[in-house]
Amino acid sequence: MNKTAMTGMEGSLAMAEAVRLANVDVVAAYPITPQTHIVERLAEMVANGELNAAYIPVESEHSAMSACLGSSAAGARTFTATAGQGLELMHEVLYVASGLRLPIVMGVANRALSCPLSVWGDHSDVMSVRDTGWIQIFAENGQQAFDLTLCGFRIGENEKVLFPVMVHIDGFHVSHVVEPLYLLEQKQVDSFLPPFKHPFPLDPDNPVTVGAFAVPILYTEARKSMENALRSTRPFISYVFDEFAKLSGRQYKPVEHYRTEDADTLLLTMGSYSEIAMEAVDQLRDCGEKVGLIRIRLWRPFPFGELRQAVENCQTLVVLDRCISPAGPPGPVCSEVKAALYSQKKRPNVAGFIGGLGGRDLYVPEFIQMVERGRVIAAQGGEEIEMIGVRG
């Protein structure tokens, strides 16, 4: 167990501190809006000599991810961070990172997308990169930003995995909040995170081509092999979470439960609103309501088994999405959850809510309202989209 004292630190800086302790070799990033303090702090660390790494300032996020491809392919431990529109500008390169099986770790401070212009937090950016083939983990607070960044390197770089990893923190609600957390010592991190050894690093003396084109007779097989490989990372991800728990005393799971015992209604959240949802659950429990909370920590690979098991005994499942799929099903998380449950003989009625868009705060009353309205909507089939905390 870690017995050091709590340190007050902004979420972005906690992630930067994890990257420093991971002794990263290369950070390539675009330093201007919508960038966060994550790479600002890393640039400072490199300049001060606190971190012996190459810091490559580039002219756009597209270039940032492109530079990361090269450094990771050469066998360097590689990190970048972005947010919102920056993630969008990276979009096409993200597929290359996973297709080449390059274990880049990226912090994403989740933000809304234009238009109207918003720099504030929601999950529009992350939902648009859902299918890029990255492992995607959600952190709810500064502590988890620190912890899961370290887990990200350990997971991605393992020879059984070799996939890039996004660690999501909610823009502003985590990235810009100073809060207490427990750091780890360098020797603890060293014992947890072995040096990165890429099995096939680029070598100027032995040139090879990577990422060549695939004709129709090959492309499908290439995608199938990647899909199989990403799916089969699941046991190792859980193993790393368990190993991290031995080191830190903090246990993460692909799907996490809060007061779910005997619950007839479950809330489901992803990201920092999980904490206020817990407060709502406590208040509802105090009133005798059998309500609990499920949090999806691992968004990709999607934790089908754990999710099905988590909700099998409840009657109503209320899902919060911080992203809208315009004129589509009620929220990307909700529609994925519904798809995962469709084949199950025993499954709850599901109600989806959309809220917390573009930095809109949700408090306990909104979650209580979601539980109450959710029971009604779910019983009616749950097809309608309901937005929470919206005027008009």
Binding site: V119, W120, G121
Partner: protein, 186 residues
């Protein structure tokens, strides 16, 4: 004023006046004493001179709410000019208090702007200019906040100030202590 559960502080300033730093210093001081605390700005693009807010929560228990503080226990005003354009007491909780940097008296400020909410005043600008040699009152006002509510002990601010201001920490801490001594509550 003593708080047994969570205390929520909303700081009004103008972009560039260091409201966020005030919030961070308080939160770091509280965390240094083993409490749970949070500090964050009114999120968004920073604009020098425009009205901004920063928020602090301090609690004996882990803090789960991350939204902006709509119902503060304490409101802090770094720039008296804001009193003419903002309703700073908006949402102020029962037994709440407002802490203002102003040359005006506590009674006058309370009567004119605060709808009779308890009001603490200090001429933080004068203290800052005299002590730190710059009209930035964010650290000076920390002393006034501590006079109005015992959210953290004075000495707990020393370490965060040192960490943040290095060689200028001593004058900032001195200004903070002067403000504590000269704050008047009505």
């Amino acid at each position: 004023m003593k708080f047994t559960t969570m205390i929520e502080i909303r700081i009004h300033g103008r972009g560039g006046q260091g409201a966020v730093t005030s919030a961070e210093m308080l939160a770091l001081a509280a965390i240094g004493t083993g409490k749970y605390a949070q500090a964050f700005p009114s999120f968004g693009p920073e604009r020098r001179g425009a009205p901004v807010q920063a928020f602090v929560r301090v609690s004996d228990k882990p803090i789960r709410v991350r939204g902006e503080i709509k119902e503060p226990d304490v409101v802090v005003v770094l720039d008296p000019g804001l009193l003419n354009i903002l309703d700073v007491t908006s949402g102020l909780r029962e037994k709440g208090i407002v802490v203002v940097n102003t040359k005006a008296s506590a009674e006058e400020t309370k009567k004119r702007f605060m709808d009779n909410w308890p009001t603490a005043v200090v001429d933080a600008s004068a203290i800052a200019i005299e002590t730190i040699r710059v009209n930035i009152v964010n650290t000076t006002m920390l002393g006034a906040i501590l006079k109005a509510c015992d959210v953290v002990p004075m000495e707990s601010l020393e370490e965060p100030l040192k960490h943040r201001f290095g060689g200028r920490a001593d004058s900032n801490f001195e200004a903070c202590k002067k403000a504590y001594e000269t704050t008047v509550i009505a």
